[in-house]
Amino acid sequence: MNVIVCVKQVPDPAEAKIDKETKTIVREGVTNITNPFDMYGIEEGVRIKEKNGGKVTAVSMGPPQSEKCLREAIAMGADEAILVSDRALAGSDTLVTATALAAAIDKVGDYHLIICGREAIDGDTGQTGPGIAERLGIPHVTYVQKIREISEDKMIVERMIEDGYQVIEVKLPALITVVKDINEPRIPSLRGMMKAKKANIITMNAQDLSLDPDNLGLKGSPTQVIRQFTPEIVRKGEVLEGEPTEQAAVLVSKLLQTRVV
């Protein structure tokens, strides 16, 4: 059973700041970490391998320093790692990112399952996973909280929804995105870290993946950010008058009116 896990490097939210002028995330001078949701993906992939055999390949797209999160994946038990990196890919939106990652995954081939985190905590779109599946022409299930059963050609998963979950059977190969309820990512082992330190990270650029140079990076991305702003929060406060019992009565009727209760 071969699993591919997609990982992304993101700024550590403990240090992250927003540029007051451009309203974008300041990426310089902050520590980068592996997107927390991807950690659940790595863990799940490694668990599947440990139970069923096969291998886990971690794939990331990003600047060269993204190598760090691929090494972390290897320390946790991934066998191989691929970094898709090219200056031409800078500024890519989720569509271009999904296209590039799908091309890399296609090149790896021979996979049964692709796992992504539910979303990256910097962009919060949750689009890349499904985008990859579309490009590869395979089914996908988002927000998976549990894999109930898995075999070479199908799996049964629980998909988290607002107040409960759906049970979905899906043919493999497929892609899932996972939520944090699915597992508790392990702490890497010393041997894993030693292996990760020495591991050879395969790098691929746009040319290696035969990507159309006109459809890459910022200029190849249909998503255009027109303006970013922090929405103003309009809160109205109201002070109730009268004796406590009167106030309570007014409060209850107001709550009923607004359908809070």
Binding site: R186, I187, L190, M193, M194
Partner: protein, 385 residues
């Protein structure tokens, strides 16, 4: 201070730090309250390969030494010293085998300690034999291919939890300290049971119990070294493991300083952070000076042992005394900086103060350590003349 650790040592330290932060710190207060043995954390340590950092690679370890072990103990101890000593005591129980065991004994017992599958423990102390270990009464009588053990060891860390015990017993009463021998006893051996769990002031997550031997037959292959070497086995083992106690003490002290420093910057009185008062600043400075001095002596001692020095009893005792006295002083001062809040269980420093005390007592009280240091000094001086 920059100690120029190797890349591997930094990796070990950072991994231990991560586990301490993520897995130990959140449960430290609860473990202190319940006294529950921290198996869950020990399993994490096992899976992360940290149980074997000081064990040679041929026995499934990582091939490091005392310094590597101390780095792990120090980091764990910053979060909970009860957890740290449960980890360290496994080293105390396995060093006799590493130092004096035959190839067969090492192959049989060490790999499971290295992988963290088994814990080890060390049984020397008895009710009437503490500092005066030579007064022990537990006996081992040879009977054909076996030894028969009788007696009770007291206050044994990891008692009942460990699978492998190194136990010192009297094989020949007429020979005094040359009449003791060291044995490996496996948990589950008929005639080997455990007494009640002690209710302690500190390091409450660790387990301290009696080992009770009643006509307990163990194969003669479980003798460590030769008959009569028990005392040497114990003393040489303690020389190697005392730095671990120093690391434990150092961890408590560093944890207390960090907590006190953060608190001093936040707590406001008289309209300003208490960190702006010189009285507090000097206390913090003194804490930091003492901690760094203790760390420097500890790391130097650990490196001395790992580099193959022949005799290091004195240095090993010195680093244990310094670090444990520092831990006691620093934790008392940390409580002082916290004021009344420091006296409350909601804050971590009162636990650290309770935990610190034991480091001045076990693996030889600080009085006994000073005896060792002075005796070594006198011996050295005599040799020079």
């Amino acid at each position: 201070m920059e100690y120029f650790l190797t890349e591997e040592q930094e990796m070990i330290r950072d991994l231990a730090r991560k586990i301490a932060k993520e897995k130990v710190e959140p449960v430290a207060a609860e473990l202190d309250e319940t006294g529950e043995f921290p198996w869950e954390i020990l399993n994490v340590l096992a899976e992360s390969d940290l149980c074997g950092v000081y064990i040679p690679e041929e026995y499934g370890g990582f091939g490091g030494g005392v310094l590597e072990q101390c780095l792990v103990v120090e980091e764990l101890s910053k979060a909970c010293s009860g957890v740290a000593v449960s980890y360290a005591a496994s080293g105390l129980g396995s060093f006799p085998i590493l130092l004096f065991g035959t190839e067969e004994q090492k192959q049989k017992y060490i790999p499971s300690v290295a992988s963290g599958k088994s814990l080890a423990a060390f049984g020397l102390t008895e009710a009437n034999a503490g500092s005066d270990a030579g007064a022990m009464e537990t006996t081992a009588v040879k009977d054909g291919d076996h030894y028969i053990l009788n007696g009770t060891k007291q206050w044994i860390t990891n008692g009942g939890e460990a699978d492998i015990y190194t136990v010192i017993a009297v094989t020949d009463k007429t020979k005094g300290s040359r009449g003791n021998s060291a044995f490996i006893v496996e948990k589950g051996t008929p005639g080997f049971t455990f007494g009640k769990k002690e209710n302690k002031m500190g390091i409450r997550a660790s387990t301290t119990r009696e080992l009770i031997f009643q006509d307990c037959r163990i194969p003669k292959e479980n003798l460590l070294g030769r008959e009569g070497m028990g005392f040497i086995v114990a003393m040489k083992t303690l020389d190697v493991t005392r730095p671990g106690i120093a690391a434990q003490a150092l961890g408590i002290a560093s944890g207390a300083l960090e907590a006190a420093l953060n608190y001093a910057r936040e707590r406001r009185q008289f309209g300003q952070p208490i960190a702006s008062f010189q009285a507090i600043q000097h206390m913090l400075a003194d804490m930091a000076i003492q901690i760094e001095a203790a760390r420097a002596l500890l790391y130097s001692t650990a490196r001395m042992i790992d580099s193959g020095a022949k005799n290091y009893s004195k240095e090993s005792s010195m680093c244990k005394v310094l670090a444990s006295d520092v831990a006691m002083k620093v934790t008392v001062d940390a409580v002082q900086i916290f004021g009344g809040y420091g006296y409350m269980k909601e804050y971590p420093v009162e636990k650290m103060m309770r935990d610190a005390k034991i480091t001045q007592i076990y693996e030889g009280t600080n009085q006994i350590q000073r005896n060792i240091i002075a005796l070594e000094m006198i011996k050295e001086a005599a040799r020079k003349r």
